[in-house]
Symmetry: C2
């Protein structure tokens, strides 16, 4: 049985895939409630910055600094430098990650800044990304800035 918040992030990832986008999803949870949901919108919005976590933070809107300090960020994939940096900016104390086998962000650095990172290695999250990377390698490399 999957954690309901990771399930919500996975649902977002699948929504993104259904739109023709990159299948990564994220939710932001405060006091047991989802306050923001997002998925990667590079394709859908022609965006260079709307990774799933960024879209999620944006959908959550302008929160009070104190609210972020008790939030948990869920993402189906290990957050990249940009998304990790955003979590650090706002002082998010916990990040739950679906998997870090198809991509790994700066996890060691994020931990060194005091964030508790939990990696689930969820088989469905892994499969979703493996299938996507195999079918759309160019788009995937663009998303992570790789040539």
């Amino acid at each position: 049985m999957r954690d309901p918040f990771m399930q919500a992030a996975l649902d977002e990832a699948r929504n993104g895939l259904a739109e023709g986008g990159i299948p990564i999803g994220s939710v932001l949870v405060i006091d047991g409630t989802i306050v923001g949901r997002g998925h990667n919108r590079r394709v859908q919005h022609g965006s260079a910055i709307l990774h799933a976590e960024m879209d999620c933070f944006e959908q959550a809107g302008r929160l009070k600094p104190a609210d972020y300090k008790r939030a948990t960020l869920y993402s189906t994939l290990s957050p990249c430098d940009m998304c990790s940096g955003t979590a650090l900016l706002y002082g998010i104390p916990k990040i739950v990650v679906g998997e870090n086998q198809t991509f790994q962000g700066p996890e060691e650095y994020v931990r060194s800044r005091g964030v508790k990172l939990t990696i689930l290695q969820d088989a469905e999250c892994i499969q979703l990304m493996e299938d996507f990377i195999a079918s759309s390698p160019q788009l995937w490399y663009e998303d992570i800035g790789k040539e």
Copy 2:
């Protein structure tokens, strides 16, 4: 005489202030040409992620990974964790910063990742932020996630 690219970033910061926003501006330069311009849009767009550099990356659009690798990012203020992380994601090799006296991002970490950071300590950039922070401290603290 100010570097013309830093002048363009400062012009963006002043545009943001004129809109009632936080006066931080940024430009992205590739091969001597400005390919993106942006300013902080927290107030104007109710945004939690559109710092000046993020707005600049977004305005530049979906560039090829190789293009970022020869870009220089200009910002009137030392990039925060989020904006520094975005530069790291895309492998931006050079960042020119107007000033780091009113706020300092993770400069040491960014340098440790191989980025060349140049800090100008531009008196006008400093004055602009000092005046803004004095007049709107709550908005400023929100922007950097401080309580």
